[in-house]
């Protein structure tokens, strides 16, 4: 099941990969830098945010005006910063979503990698609220709506007994203090969690890539700045609580659930959010990755050189003080809870040389499921089956589906395919061995497509080792023209590997061109590449620009108005107060001898609201508070047709079905988009309609 989902997911990604590979090339392919790109976009958000904060005023009137000033008076700088702040935040959501998708479909979230996945999920709960509080702080009509619905969502949680949403229904209920809270969350609280969360997220990754390549950084900043000039982010009008905008431009990247909260009760929305998050958290264990034996250190062959520890992509190897009494300082120790069994350590071990034919081939660090000795045996066996004068031995990563398909298509008695756990598992002396002992005439190393190594660093380390830039280096005496590295993107025809093998074979047959360059021979022409690049950036930024305001979300249909019921009412006490008798008082401790005993509990409150006799809201509300002694809260937003309407509200303070203790009946002429609030004035003990 999981396999099917992941396979479909990979197939869907394949054309995107292919296009990006053609446009950006393997090194710069953004799909390989999604996590780093997300962090980079957050950096843009931080820098632009600092500029915005300098001019921002944390007050009801000041907030909107200061943002307007930035947007219009200082459009060339403040306005651009504001737009960058928004677009980079939105871009971060895209790369973040792709990052999760990518790691999931390539099965990089299970097994020992559960930690990075699990610590990534809570980051969503930091980043999304950052966006929400950001829109809130602007305090335009969108900010008001975000505040209102967020407060309604919060009200559902059993945290506050008073309604928080009530604060956003009338201007005089709102105080500047609220902006202080928002500013604290948006500027300090949440970012602090974010930094800590990212640190935790990459904790188990060795040499995590926090920064994407410079070219990507520069290009995305330039294009995003251009977008900011073309489509500057603007506010959506000053808050006026007596009217409701017919529709709002929602930033769907951050506010996706808000329309849902209009249809569903907050409980369901919370359920969806928490449920989805829990499902995401549980993904690494549905089903768990079966246990694979981890790398094994052989102390007789380990002198503590530390190369495996340097090359391990997941910091699973540490150099510890020697434990066997030999004259060495340190030894490699594998932490089984971190090891993903990729074999990169074996590829780095200087003792993993296949030339040791007469002593047992046990390297200092070995993979039990595909040991150096068994690898050499396979090579020898496959070599015997090879025929011809241009025999090619191809090594590939056995878990990779492209490899599985390609190797079946290789065929021929002059080509042999050898499985590795990861291409980085192959120690360079093995290449030397195959070529110098005439086991084959050429060697092809086929890594995961696009160099997007399943184990992060296998392709990279291999390329560097073969280029003699990283230890262990391929011996200089090995003829590089007999070696080709193929992590070409092979979509759609999946013929890339066969093409690489053929090119190598041609060069073996007398060609002088280096096959390593020839594998890149299918590069696009410059204009085509630039066209693809432009298309790629457009395809990335167009949704950023569009979905940050569109499609607009309609709050009211044409000719509709909104009525909010918002008040608290203390229901009747459940019983009468009672004078205690002398005897009863005597029994009580002296400090508790209160002569009158009043029951604290209150009765529920029944409320009925009708428009032209049509009931729109009818509820029996329980008192709040732990002892049931608090007031009953009424909070409801309703839409009704504009025009002359007779509104009626009635309340029974004993929760009885018949009769009302307080009523208000009033004919109002509702204008389209008007917002009327029904309140209860405790001083006058009467309902009032707030018609601004």
């Amino acid at each position: 099941m999981l396999d099917l989902v992941q396979t479909v997911g990979r197939r869907l990604l394949a054309p995107v990969r292919w296009m990006l590979e053609r446009a950006f090339g393997s090194e710069l392919n953004p799909l390989k830098h999604l996590g780093a790109l997300t962090i980079y976009f957050l950096w843009i958000v931080v820098v632009s945010g600092i500029w915005l904060f300098i001019f921002f005023e944390t007050s009801i009137v000041g907030a909107y005006e200061s943002v307007e000033y930035l947007t219009h008076e200082q459009w060339y700088l403040g306005g651009v910063m504001r737009s960058l702040h928004r677009y980079a935040s939105d871009a971060a959501i895209i790369t973040l979503a792709l990052h999760m998708y990518h790691e999931f479909v390539y099965d990089r979230h299970r097994g020992m990698r559960w930690f990075s996945w699990l610590t990534g999920v809570p980051l969503l709960w930091v980043i999304i609220p950052l966006g929400i509080t950001g829109y809130w702080m602007v305090w335009d009509r969108l900010g008001w709506y975000v505040a209102l619905v967020s407060a309604e969502m919060m009200d559902w949680l059993p945290i506050f007994s008073e309604s928080m949403a009530r604060n956003f229904l009338s201007a005089d209920a709102l105080s500047n203090r609220f902006f202080t809270l928002m500013a604290f969350l948006h500027l300090i609280g949440l970012p602090l969690f974010l930094v800590f969360g990212i640190w935790l997220h990459v904790l188990r990754i060795s040499g995590p890539r926090i920064n994407p390549p410079r070219a990507l950084m520069a290009a995305s900043l330039i294009t995003m700045t251009a977008l900011s000039f073309i489509f500057p982010a603007v506010s959506q009008g000053e808050v006026d609580m007596s009217t409701v905008p017919a529709s709002l431009g929602l930033d769907w990247f951050y506010l996706l659930v808000y329309p849902l909260a209009e249809i569903w009760s907050p409980g369901w929305v919370w359920g969806l959010l928490v449920g989805t998050s829990l499902l995401l958290c549980a993904l690494p264990w549905i089903p768990p990755l079966r246990d694979v034996p981890v790398a094994v250190v052989d102390l007789d062959n380990c002198n503590g050189c530390g190369r495996c520890a340097d090359d391990c992509p997941f910091s699973a190897i540490t150099m510890m003080p020697r434990s066997d009494g030999l004259a060495y300082e340190s030894e490699a120790v594998v932490d089984p809870s971190l090891c993903v069994s990729c074999g990169l350590c074996m590829g780095s071990c200087p003792t993993a040389t296949p030339f040791r034919r007469h002593s047992e081939l046990i390297p200092g660090i070995d993979m039990p499921q595909l040991s150096a000795a068994s690898l050499r045996a396979t090579i020898m066996k496959k070599s015997e089956q090879l025929e011809g004068t241009e025999r090619v031995m191809v090594f590939g990563c056995r878990g990779n589906e492209d490899w599985k398909r390609s190797k079946a298509a290789l065929g021929g008695s002059d080509t042999a395919a050898v499985d590795l756990i990861c291409v980085g598992q192959l120690p360079p002396p093995f290449v030397d061995f195959v070529l110098s002992r005439d086991l084959a005439d050429g060697v092809v190393l086929a890594g995961c497509p696009g160099g997007d190594c399943q184990y992060r660093l296998g392709a990279e380390w291999t390329a560097l080792r073969m280029a003699r830039e990283r230890d262990p280096q391929l011996r200089k005496r090995v003829d590089s023209s007999r070696l080709a590295l193929a992590w070409d993107e092979r979509w759609p025809a999946n013929k890339g590997l066969a093409a690489v093998v053929n090119t190598l074979r041609q060069s073996l047959g007398g060609g002088s061109e280096s096959p390593r360059q020839k594998t890149d021979g299918r590069r696009l022409s410059k204009p085509a590449r630039w066209a693809l690049l432009t298309l790629a950036y457009a395809a990335f930024l167009a949704p950023v620009a569009v979905f940050s305001v569109w499609p607009r979300f309609g709050l009211l249909d044409d000719g509709e108005a909104m009525v909010s019921l918002s008040f608290s009412y203390d229901g009747q006490r459940i019983g009468e107060c009672r004078q205690l008798t002398q005897e009863e008082l005597q029994k009580l401790p002296p400090n508790m001898r209160k002569p009158i005993d009043c029951p604290r509990e209150r009765m529920p409150v029944r409320v009925l609201f009708t428009a032209d006799g049509r009931p729109l809201y009818e509820a029996t509300l329980q008192p709040t508070g732990l002892w049931g002694d608090g007031s009953a809260n009424v909070y409801q937003r309703l839409t009704l047709s504009a025009g002359q309407t007779e509104l009626f509200i009635g309340l029974n303070e004993r929760g009885e079905a018949e009769g009302f203790d307080h009523t208000l009946r009033q004919v109002v002429d509702l204008a389209p988009g008007q917002h009327v609030v029904v309140e209860y004035d405790e001083r006058d003990e009467a309902f009032v309609l707030r018609l601004e």
């Binding site: 060495y328 040389t353 034919r357 011996r475």
Partner: protein, 133 residues
């Protein structure tokens, strides 16, 4: 015939590196002994291959110590290591191709090859690291 002799002057002061130097000398001497005594090329080849693995690992360890100490001649020393590994591979291949001439070449070069590196590069490393140990 014992060709190589460990000298106290070779001591670098890093116990593991010194330990391996001694072990390598033993291995090289063993190959010489076999060349003198045995005519079975397989045994000599096996000895050479073990030396290659041992030296590759030894260089890796020595390089680690040099990097840790911030040795300023690291690059040159490292190049020499790579060069030496290429040379021993040459000797291995030469021996595999033609044991007779390979054997002659070994007898002439092997000890020389090792002591030269000892006398020049490792001696310099000793001067540099000596103060620290």
């Amino acid at each position: 015939m014992t060709l190589l002799q460990w000298k106290p002057a070779y001591t670098l002061g890093i116990p593991s590196v010194d330990h391996e130097h001694r072990a390598l000398i033993r291995m090289i001497n063993e190959v010489y002994r076999q060349m003198a005594e045995s005519s079975n090329p397989e045994i000599i080849e096996a000895g050479l291959e073990d030396i290659y693995a041992g030296i590759a690992a030894h260089f890796a360890l020595e390089e680690r110590h040099m990097r840790k100490a911030g040795y300023e001649e690291y690059a040159a020393h490292k190049d020499e290591h790579e060069e030496l590994l290429d040379q021993i591979r040459e000797m291995m291949d030469a021996f595999a191709e033609d044991p007779e001439s390979g054997r002659r070449r070994l007898q002439e070069n092997l000890a020389d090859w090792f002591t030269k590196h000892f006398a020049t590069f490792d001696a310099r490393l000793h001067d540099r690291l000596g103060d620290h140990h």
